[in-house]
Symmetry: C2
């Protein structure tokens, strides 16, 4: 059980997958079509990054986002 924030989890996730993919921050930025500063910001757990930017970066790394409803059987609705 961890007390790290979602942003810290996201930061680690992106950093790890970027490294595994053998990409530099700049390469990932270009691949995702965003500025390189944002990659740095994301990997440093900056909370105030725009959703579409995050989505682009995650898409470039082939990471999927999923929402989980508190209501039974609502996730796919």
């Amino acid at each position: 059980m961890s007390d790290e924030t979602f942003y810290q989890q996201l930061a680690r996730f992106i950093l790890n997958h970027r490294k595994i993919s053998g990409l530099s921050q700049l390469q990932l930025a270009e691949l995702a079509g965003v500025g390189k500063t944002v990659i740095y910001d994301l990997e440093h757990a900056k909370p105030s990054v725009q959703l579409d930017t995050v989505v682009k970066v995650l898409h470039a790394l082939n990471i999927k986002i999923q929402l989980h409803s508190p209501i039974e059987g609502f996730d796919d609705v």
Copy 2:
């Protein structure tokens, strides 16, 4: 199978859960600690909303976000 964007899915998700919770846009905004305009924007699939704002709103509705790695067994690392 759906061709709706992630933003449209998110929009529906938030709208549905807000309605089920019996909250107005304003009430949800206050509960989440964000401006009411953002609730409107989110429910209209605006992509350029800040991540922390989305996270606050989802948290207020008790919706969980999960990341899925393309690499086996990497999700919890």
